[in-house]
């Protein structure tokens, strides 16, 4: 998380000032300009380097907008986390990038084309809950599905495909389970299988919806290792998550989402209290330097020692 920033993160800072957010003079959130992509400034540069690019996008489900005026550029090769409370629109943004949703207004470009055009180069890993676990497919069958789109109708999977599948299964550590029906797997194992499917497709862009949510720590570490490995090879990874500690440790960049993009910058932003307060707009519990979002009902209580409570109707109280 170096402080060396490029223009994809322009901020209204006085010239000559080091642009690391931690060096910013402390100001109240309403006064301070939070770091974000300003589409009006140097959009061309951001656009040109971006694997995924959204400009002023509004979209929703039914009549209700889920996200409004979202602008975001995801640079090629980055490992980006989307964070925000539940219902903030993280999944929606992923779906926009995956081409599963058409924006009501604004523009979306993915891998230089309309979303969905370059779908062969994109792997979207949805939240695993939406699949029928009784379906008669094994781990190997599911991972092989990642190869189907590039095969097209009529062609049967061949040696290359089998090789890619085996490699992917091995990478996620599921080689021993290749013949197991997916219903017989644990939550963490299922997550690995779906990541393997994405890997087998050999995409340029990974879009993962909550890939490490609710899995054991080992799986989490392994999955993050794999994702990091992919970005080192030049692939782009965008993943949504609740786990701020994981973001701080493993991700390179972060975008805060709460119906719009609140902030976007290096992953260390996760530790910035003002950003957190704006993004989470509710309770945030800071314990021993770690911020944990609380999505429960608003309450007024006494802060215990070592805790800092942030409320959206009071100015933050910092020590």
């Amino acid at each position: 998380m170096s402080g060396h920033e490029h223009t994809e993160q322009p901020m209204t800072t006085p010239p000559g000032t080091h642009s690391d957010p931690h060096d910013q003079p402390r100001r109240l959130p309403s006064e301070r300009q939070l770091p974000r992509v300003d589409a009006a400034i140097d959009a061309g540069h951001a656009h040109a380097h971006a694997d995924a690019w959204l400009a002023d996008v509004t979209v929703g489900y039914g009549d209700r907008p889920a996200v409004e005026h979202v602008s975001l550029a995801v640079e090629a090769g980055s490992l980006l986390a989307l964070v925000g409370p539940n219902g903030s629109g993280k999944s929606t943004i992923l779906k926009l990038m995956a081409g599963l949703l058409r924006p009501w207004s604004g523009r979306v470009e993915v891998l230089g084309a309309e979303p969905g055009r370059e779908a062969r180069r994109i792997a979207y890993v949805p939240q695993a809950e939406l699949v029928d676990w009784q379906f008669p497919v094994t781990v190997a069958d599911v991972v092989m599905m990642g190869r189907y789109p590039r095969l097209g109708p009529l062609r049967r999977p061949g040696r290359d495909d089998r090789r890619a599948v085996t490699a992917a299964i091995e990478k996620v550590g599921m080689a021993a389970f290749a013949g197991r029906q997916i219903g017989a797997l644990s939550g963490g194992q299922r997550r690995r299988v779906f990541l393997a499917r994405a890997l087998a497709a050999e995409p340029d862009l990974f879009l993962l919806d909550e890939p490490v949510t609710g899995v054991d720590a080992t799986t989490q570490e392994d999955l993050m290792d794999i994702l990091e490995g992919e970005t080192r090879r030049g692939k782009t990874v965008v993943a949504s998550t609740h786990d701020l500690a994981c973001v701080a440790e493993r991700f390179a960049r972060v975008a805060f989402v709460n119906r719009t993009v609140i902030a976007h910058g290096p992953a260390s932003l996760v530790l910035d209290a003002d950003v957190l307060a704006r993004a989470y707009a509710g309770h945030l519990l800071v314990v021993a330097g770690q911020a944990i979002p609380i999505d429960d009902a608003h309450h007024h209580d006494q802060e215990a020692p070592g805790e800092t409570h942030f409320h959206d109707d009071l100015p933050p109280h910092r020590h």
Binding site: A119, P126, L130, F135, A201
Partner: protein
């Protein structure tokens, strides 16, 4: 052995056997996807919706199969459209269209003055009166259906299992869904002569459901379904011959019996599975 060979001397029986085997095969293949996608109810609605098509064809003097196909396809697409766009649950939409279309058929039927007896053959099947021309038509239609499924089996599998993921990966999931329902409609129309509108959903669903109880591999499930489909067609037809009972219904009853047998005795839900699990537990202790 004579019991098997004796009926084969009659051409009508050989044709009926051929038709039953073809129908059993196609229904099992398409039925595998139907069962996994949960489309059994839609299948029943489509088959009942074929009835007004047949009646309309009769009134207009056209081909029954074309009429049935048009009605079935329109209904299939209509149900999908309504469930995708509308605020209704799918089964509500189906329930409304199901009885409504069938009632339309009866309504049109009651306006006909004149010879109408052939139309009832569509309700319960007419397996024994299949003409050589009918059988040829059935073979052609079955070939078209099977080839289409063979070409798109991967895409259909992916879209059935994980429509969101498949769509994101670039498969045209909506096209596949609509296209598959057209395949289901055509399969039903092809099967009308064998078992009729009322029973055709059984031919689609029961063999595949039986197969699902026996295996966790997709390809194996389809093959088992085809096996059950063909086996029940042959056995059912022979039983109906020797026992002097309705052929279409006997075939369906054989399929249902097979399903119950596997349910009660099979490896996943039945006795065999229970014994095996007990054995494993005993070995472990």
């Amino acid at each position: 052995m004579d019991a098997v060979l004796q009926p084969l001397q009659y051409e009508f029986f050989v044709r009926a056997l051929g038709a039953a085997i073809v129908v059993g095969t196609v229904c099992a293949v398409v039925g595998t996807y139907v069962v996994l996608k949960g489309l059994a109810f839609i299948g029943d609605a489509i088959s009942h919706a074929a009835f007004p098509g047949v009646v309309a064809a009769f009134i207009l003097g056209g081909s029954y199969y074309v009429g049935a196909a048009i009605a079935a396809i329109v209904t299939a697409l209509g149900i999908t459209y309504v469930s995708r766009r509308g605020r209704l649950r799918t089964d509500t939409a189906i329930g409304v269209l199901f009885a409504g279309t069938f009632a339309l058929g009866i309504f049109m039927f009651s306006t006909i003055e004149g010879y109408v007896a052939d139309l009832f053959g569509f309700l319960f099947g007419n397996l024994l009166s299949i003409s050589p021309a009918d059988l040829a038509g059935l073979l052609v239609l079955a070939a078209v259906i099977l080839v289409t499924v063979a070409v798109f089996w991967k895409e259909l599998l992916y879209a059935t299992f994980d429509p969101l993921g498949a769509g994101a990966a670039g498969l045209r999931v909506e096209w596949l869904e609509y296209g598959f329902l057209v395949i289901v409609a055509l399969t039903i129309v092809a099967s009308l002569q064998a078992v009729g509108i009322i029973l055709v959903v059984a031919m689609l669903v029961t063999p595949a459901a039986t197969a699902q109880l026996l295996t966790v591999r997709f390809a194996r499930m389809m093959m088992l379904a085809v096996g059950v489909g063909i086996g029940s067609a042959v056995l059912g037809l022979y039983v109906s011959y020797w026992q002097d009972v309705a052929s279409g219904a006997t075939i369906v009853l054989v399929q249902t019996a097979a399903f119950l047998l596997v349910l009660l005795l099979g490896p996943r839900t039945g006795l065999a599975g229970w014994l095996r699990r007990r054995g494993v537990a005993a070995a472990g202790s």
